[in-house]
């Protein structure tokens, strides 16, 4: 292995690891966003159902 190969290996590993980590964060963020949206929708549906039940009880 000549010195140029060591230099290439060092820079390749730096960019590969940083790219991999950023990808990991990005994928996690997308998954969390989907989960958050689903949970917020469930919460809204529950609030609406509770509101409707209250209105029925009142009438």
């Amino acid at each position: 292995m000549d010195n140029l190969s060591y230099l290439f290996a060092a820079y390749a590993i730096i960019f590969a690891l940083i790219f991999g980590y950023v990808m990991f964060i990005w994928r996690r963020q997308v998954a969390l966003e989907i989960e958050l949206r689903a949970m917020e929708a469930r919460m809204r549906a529950l609030d609406e159902a509770a509101g409707a039940a209250k209105a029925r009880a009142g009438s």
Binding site: Y6, I14, I25, R28, Q29, E33, E40
Partner: protein
């Protein structure tokens, strides 16, 4: 400007700075006299170490604030900084090892700087394992804060290790022109630009990870509220 816009802007600034740094490392800076082309690893190896040290210092600061104020935001910041610091500390060890092979003839040696850096890596590896095993518990966050603070004591030890003990870690670099260290202004300029690029990269990655952890915290709170609301709906 929204948080997403700030993160995008930070990403673009980081990318631009990184391109300038790469140009300077591979085109602009002169080749070092003794070590030759492989010395160019130095221009990214040192900024990785700088970012790792800043990250671990931030873990300790966030840990102190978490123990003091008990606010989840400090725990999220500490966790994000620890993870980011681990990535860069890993890069320091790996690039250092790759640099050591052609210069020292060995991938690894139990030199004081290398050994204390490995200890730092193991300490924060322990922090991340503790956090992973403790889950979202408050006790796990408190233990993590304590470990993060105690482990940060190794950061100044790593920095002064080359002065405290005998070491073969390079301290003086010689240019082709015969000057000492980084006396060549192009070497200094390249190192400074690389440091700026890695600092921007660190801030960007930290922001991304911190936002992800804040979302995770929000999701946990929402799940608890939802469970309570569903239980109340079933009762009524």
């Amino acid at each position: 400007m929204s948080g997403r816009g700030v993160r995008l802007g930070l990403g673009l600034v980081t990318g631009a700075l990184m391109l300038v740094a790469l140009y300077m490392v591979f085109v602009y800076v002169p080749t070092e006299a003794d070590q030759g082309i492989v010395q160019r690893i130095f221009y990214f190896h040192v900024p990785c170490a700088w970012v790792a040290f800043v990250s671990f210092a931030l873990v300790a600061i966030a840990g102190i604030f978490y123990l003091w104020l008990g606010q989840q935001v400090w725990d999220d910041l500490g966790y994000a900084a620890a993870e980011t610091g681990m990535v860069f500390c890993t890069l320091v060890l790996v690039t250092g090892s790759i640099w050591a092979k052609p210069i020292w003839g060995a991938w690894w040696t139990w030199d004081s700087r290398l050994t204390t850096t490995l200890i730092l890596w193991l300490l924060y590896g322990g922090y991340l394992m503790l956090r992973a095993m403790a889950g979202d518990s408050e006790q796990g966050a408190r233990f993590g804060a304590v470990v993060g603070i105690v482990a940060a004591i190794d950061v100044p030890i790593v920095i002064v290790s080359v002065r405290l003990w005998r070491t073969i870690h390079p301290a003086v670099l010689v240019t082709r022109q015969g000057g000492h260290g980084l006396e060549d202004p192009r070497m200094v300029a390249t190192l400074l630009v690389s440091l700026a690029a890695f600092t921007a990269l660190f801030i960007w990655i930290l922001c991304l990870r911190f936002v992800t952890l804040r979302m995770h915290t929000r999701l946990g709170a929402l799940a608890r509220s939802l469970a309570l609301a569903e239980a109340a709906a079933q009762d009524s």
